[in-house]
């Protein structure tokens, strides 16, 4: 058991190491000269002399691997450098923005769970009846819908036509509803489909046939026997989709002008604020990889079948 966790931790470190390397490599390959950009952002007209001076101060004239090493050593202590645009430590800017993103993604995730479980279960119970077809049609449409277009349509209907909800920004609870729904709907489509498949797979297992032959009520079979077993693959799926959730948040935040890290990252791209982009990418990676590790360890503890596979 503990061997498994250690193995996963080593993997986690390796993946994070790979991501820092790729991120740094990208910055290295980027066309702009950070020294020049930094000077320009402070309003100084950069002379060649000055640029050369700042370059050597920042250590930009050192070889690639040396620079990566020094940078990584700083990143490990939580120092991602200074944002060109805000002129503040990247970590501060990120931390000020992160709560808004967590609110958005968290409420979207709750919505997904609340809606997709009933839908998936109904779809499985009424398999190949009209209700199942309606749910599957919805789920198919949701999977093909570009989230930014969905968000615009919601804005148009609820914000402009009906004037029920605010269209942009963050002004209290109301303004969370539209972005959270925009983020949730494509995932609801994906989950209800997946939950249906998993439930149907479980239904054909021997223990279900056994319970049925003993005369156990159908509702009890579903809630007490099938659902707990079906939960494991679904929780794993949830871990995986946090990636889509965080990435999707960038699009939804920038559409609804939601003051989270995603919108910040997109803005940072246009101001060429490389340290901020680096910080964003690495933080998203940490959140994603850690969540997935927790999910894996949890399923590992919950499911004796997986445990046997690894330890024997």
């Amino acid at each position: 058991m503990s061997r498994y966790i250690v193995k996963r931790l080593v993997q986690l470190v390796a993946v994070l190491f790979g991501i820092t390397f790729l991120t740094f490599l990208l910055t290295y390959l980027s066309p702009g000269d950070p020294a020049r950009l930094m000077l320009m952002s402070t309003g100084v007209t950069p002379s060649d002399e000055l640029v050369r001076q700042v370059r050597s101060e920042l250590g930009l004239d050192q070889p690639f691997l040396y620079r990566y090493g020094t940078w990584l050593a700083q990143v490990v202590t939580g120092d991602f450098g200074t944002s060109y645009k805000y002129n503040r430590p990247v970590l501060d800017v990120l931390m000020a923005r992160l709560p808004a993103t967590l609110w958005l993604t968290g409420s979207a995730m709750i919505l997904v769970i609340l809606v997709s479980f009933p839908l998936g279960m109904l779809s499985a119970v009424y398999r190949n009846k009209w209700l199942d077809y309606v749910i599957r049609l919805f789920s198919f449409a949701g999977l093909s819908m570009p989230s930014f277009w969905l968000g615009m349509l919601l804005m148009l209907v609820f914000g402009v036509q009906l004037r029920l909800l605010p269209v942009m920004g963050n002004s209290g609870w109301n303004s969370l509803i539209l972005p959270a729904c925009t983020l949730a709907i494509p995932l609801v489509a994906q989950y209800s489909r997946q939950i249906r498949t998993v439930l149907l797979e479980e239904t054909s297992q021997n223990y279900v046939i056994g319970a049925r032959s003993r005369g156990v009520k159908e509702s009890i079979i579903i809630l007490r026997h099938i659902l707990p077993n079906a939960l494991l693959p679904i929780v794993t799926l949830m871990g995986m989709t946090t990636g889509a959730l965080l990435g999707g948040a960038a699009i939804v935040e920038s559409l609804f002008v939601w003051p989270g890290v995603g919108q910040m990252a997109v803005d940072a791209i246009f101001t060429r604020d490389y340290p901020l982009i680096q910080g964003y990418v690495i933080w998203m990676a940490i959140i994603y990889v850690t969540l997935n590790l927790l999910v894996d360890v949890w399923t590992h503890l919950r499911d004796p079948r997986i445990r046997l596979d690894v330890d024997v």
Partner: protein, 277 residues
Amino acid sequence: MRAFRLVILQNRWFTFLLSLTVFWIVLAMVAPLLAPHDPLATNFARVLQPSSAEYPLGTDQLGRCVLSRLLYGARTSLLLTFMMIGIVFVLGVAIGVIAGFARGLTDTVLMRLSDTLMAFPGLIFAIAVVGMLGPGLFNTVLALSVVWWAKYARMARSLVISLQQKEYVAAAAFSGARKIQIIGRTILPNMISPLIVMAMMDVGGMMLSISGLSFLGLGAQPPNPEWGAMLNEGRRYLQTAPWLLIYPGLAIFSTVIIFNLLGDSLRDVLDPKKNTA
């Protein structure tokens, strides 16, 4: 290969979807003949007009014809999507085949690299690549290729490894076929159909990724017509000119639906066992 073609054409639903796709592609190719106006021509006397006889789908903030831009945009969107699927397919399969045959250190390095990429949210990495290298179509193509090849490499590698265990591969080796012949003649033809299904299922998602990046202003740059970029330009006119966001969105949505249906039905046709319905 002929049997393969027959099976596909016998499925009416699949044929229908395939002809819809072909129709879409033809529409995009003959855009210059169909478009009523030059997609880049501005007309400041006719800014933000709703649909009329002259401009069937209205005009945008610069007085450009929305219908013409949609038709020309189809070229960019469709061409780019197919090109991208082609790139990640060839790149991924090549790397997977190399890893599967070489094994050892080459295999380990390539697979660890693909693990790292797959253990990471694709869109965020794509944002990172475009963010660092600068917005633009070329960098979008680069970003998405870097993210997507890993999946194909994994699949191709596992197919190569499992096919090498087959008796007919051993038979080919016994009868003195060279390694390159075994790969090209025996193994590749047998692994191609699951990979094609995978690629077909990805077309819709690829289109959504490309238009998503363009919507963020990171992909196609104005004034070039591209559906996601059109939505990005139109978002400021949500209240005054809703047609600027309804039509391009509808174009993306309907195209992605067709591709997703096509992918699903191709999977069902080629692999009836996996039919979950």
